[in-house]
């Protein structure tokens, strides 16, 4: 989409606020500094009353849904039969928790072992694993994300000690059980709170992951990710990267692309088939029609639900979960439909970044999310080059086209 940057030249530098009820969503634009007609530059400020001028004014702003549910949350008692005495908190029941399934190859670094497998076969690989059983694996690309999930859990438990509405991390691997002890030792070494795991020895776990209402599945294997997506589980492929910028240890930050991730790929289809002008025309004509949902809508919903638990206890400014929309759409035009759709779904993101085709890498480097989901490898790679952990969502029409540079 880089081509579009030159073609359009309607960007603002700076930012302005868009009001959604009591909560303001800061919107950032970046790109060329030519001023468009009809849009004025408004400086970024914390004043929630400022409204954008120009084309955007016709959006009906109504009080959003985030203020009303301050009532008591369903707090269920643990009634599991725990048979070993442990001071660790008990894992939540799958239906109550936000279940995140992570593969061992993305939670930890296992490249050396992969090489043994590829070069010497499965028997030698397993022997190697058993031999090195007491050597913990190093953290992989999903590690900071998982650590951040645990931080949120600690905060949630402080505020709601009886609640099972927490993140529940499940380790899933297609590895043979021979690797079991090494994986358990590794989890112990890194002090991770993972009590549920599946080492399937090769068979697919998607059936029971689905039954356990898994909200997100992260793997290094695109085939498995595709299988999960086809079963309705939000899933993304992660990659090893040498560069990983430091991220917050107190706040979980999750960034989402819009089309084909939060939303369906309908607009991307138009763009791919008929070009940019048609895309804009289509978006304009359909501004008041909601976009269809994409594979990650549910996961954003799950995050929003947990965020509201913090808001309910007066922790809005201090919320340890922050969500971002990072889209190639532009705020002035095609972005409107995205925001309207989110609002209609009763969903908000904390920050919406409309890049109007500009590269996502630099903006992501500023936000420092623990993970960024995008359906286009071009953006995933661009993000990774600048040290952001980016995961590929192999969904929609973008998968049928080779990446453009």
């Amino acid at each position: 989409m880089l081509q579009t940057a030159a073609a359009l030249s309607v960007y603002l530098v700076g930012g302005f606020f868009f009001v959604l009820g009591e909560h303001s969503v800061p919107i950032h634009l970046s790109g060329l500094s030519a001023q468009p007609e009809g849009l004025s530059m408004v400086k970024m400020s914390l004043d929630p009353v400022q409204v954008m001028s120009g084309q955007v004014q016709d959006i009906k702003v109504s009080p959003s849904s985030n203020g009303e549910s301050r009532g008591s949350w369903e707090e269920k008692e643990f009634d599991q039969k725990q048979l070993d005495q442990t001071t660790k908190p008990k894992p939540p029941k799958p239906e109550n928790a936000v279940t995140i399934a992570v593969s061992s190859r993305v939670l930890f670094r296992t490249e050396r072992e992969q090489k043994v497998y590829e070069q010497k076969g499965v028997e030698e690989y397993l022997r190697y694993q058993v031999e090195h059983e007491n050597e913990p694996f190093a953290p992989g690309p999903a590690f900071p994300f998982v650590k951040a999930l645990e931080t949120v859990n600690i905060r949630l438990r402080e505020l709601y000690p009886q609640s099972e509405e927490l993140f529940d991390i499940v380790l899933v691997t297609y590895n043979h059980a021979h690797v079991g002890i090494r994986l358990i030792n590794t989890i112990n070494h890194h002090n991770l709170f993972i009590e549920r795991f599946c080492m399937t020895g090769g068979s697919s776990p998607i059936g029971y992951l689905k039954a356990w209402q898994t909200n997100l599945y992260l793997s290094a294997d695109a085939e498995k990710v595709r299988e999960a997506l086809s079963e309705g589980i939000a899933a993304a492929t992660m990659f090893m990267s040498d560069k990983m910028t430091t991220v917050s240890e107190s706040q979980l930050r999750v960034a989402f692309d819009g089309d084909a991730v939060l939303f369906s790929d309908e607009s991307e289809r138009i763009f791919k088939a008929h070009g940019l002008d048609k895309f804009f025309e289509h978006e304009r004509e359909n501004e008041d029609t909601l976009l269809d949902h994409g594979p990650f809508k549910g996961f954003l919903e799950a995050l929003a639900k947990l965020q509201k638990k913090f808001y309910a206890k007066g922790q809005r400014l201090n919320c340890p979960i922050r969500t971002y929309l990072v889209t190639a759409r532009s705020a002035a035009s095609s972005g409107i439909r995205a925001l309207k759709t989110l609002r209609a779904w009763g969903l908000e993101v904390d920050e919406a970044l409309f890049l109007a085709g500009a590269p996502k890498g630099p903006m992501l480097e500023k936000i420092r999310p623990h993970i960024f989901f995008d359906d286009q490898m071009f953006h995933v790679e661009g993000a990774a080059e600048m040290g952001t952990v980016a995961a590929h969502v192999p969904y929609g029409v973008a998968q049928l086209h080779s990446k453009k540079k």
């Binding site: 048979l83 070993d84 442990t86 799958p94 499965v122 059980a177 080492m199 020895g201 068979s203 039954a211």
Partner: protein, 263 residues
């Protein structure tokens, strides 16, 4: 009155090394439903298990024609009604060409003694009470699992799939004597030995370990305990209380064996 009859159609195993697996007649045959042509009983739930056992034996013999560590199947009646129908049972078994080595005709009162006398190392039934009674007397026992596919028309033999867990709720009721000849450990060790005959990726026997409750510490301990018994499991699941039915439906084990881990 208990009697043991050898199946002359089947080669008898070396008593020393064979693993005797007893299956109840009620689990194998749908009594009362006769095949029109042959006047024999139709096959029931235990049939896929027998096929899988046969497959394991065939694979073992393929690797080593002189193999003595084989699975020896004993068909046992556990109620007096079936006990009286011995000839029908034998003819039905032979008609279907089932790899049953011995028949044992016992009643509700006598079947556990028969199991002990015949050195049975695993007792499989579809009757919960029978499984519990046998367990309490020290015979490793398990319930046969229902299969998804229509077993009677299965033409391709499945691998033998074993699910090991510690169903601690039922464990509280059973009280097997430690050090008993028929302890679960002995069966597990034999199972492990059979598994070792095959490679990781090419085995007709598949062993899953499922930790239903408890922490990963539990799981680590169980893996080590099994390893010390010579059992290398193929896959392991630590559920931490999550429902096991979805997993059961994917794994489709022939039976679930309570390991009665002693800490």
């Amino acid at each position: 009155m208990v009697s043991v009859v050898l199946n002359t159609d089947v080669k008898q195993e070396d008593a020393g090394n064979a693993v005797v697996v007893a299956v109840t007649s009620r689990a194998l045959f749908e009594s009362g439903l006769e095949d029109d042509d042959a006047g024999v009983w139709k096959l029931s739930l235990a049939f896929p298990l027998l096929q899988a056992v046969q497959k394991v034996n065939d694979c073992l013999l393929e690797k080593n024609p002189a193999e003595s560590l084989l699975l020896d199947v004993l068909l046992i009646t556990t109620d007096s009604q079936h006990q009286k129908l011995s000839s029908l049972l034998i003819s039905s078994t032979k008609h279907h060409g089932l790899g049953v080595g011995k028949f044992c005709f016992a009643s509700e009162e006598t079947f556990v003694d028969s199991l002990l006398e015949n050195n049975v190392q695993l007792f499989l039934s579809t009757n919960k009470d029978e499984v519990q009674t046998a367990s309490q007397k020290g015979v490793p026992s398990a319930m046969l699992e229902a299969r998804k596919k229509d077993s009677s028309v299965s033409c391709q033999r499945e691998d033998l799939r074993v699910w090991l867990d510690e169903d601690l709720i039922s464990l509280r009721d059973s009280a097997s004597e430690p050090g008993s000849r028929h302890s679960p450990q002995r069966f597990l060790a034999k199972l492990g030995e059979i598994r070792q005959r095959f490679s990781v990726s090419d085995s007709p026997l598949w062993i899953s370990l499922v930790i239903l409750h408890g922490s990963r510490e539990n799981c680590g301990k169980r893996l080590k305990t099994l390893r010390s018994l010579g059992v290398s499991v193929d896959d392991v699941y630590c559920l931490a209380g999550a429902p096991s039915e979805p997993l059961l439906s994917v794994l489709q084990p022939h039976f679930r064996f309570n390991c009665c881990f002693m800490d």
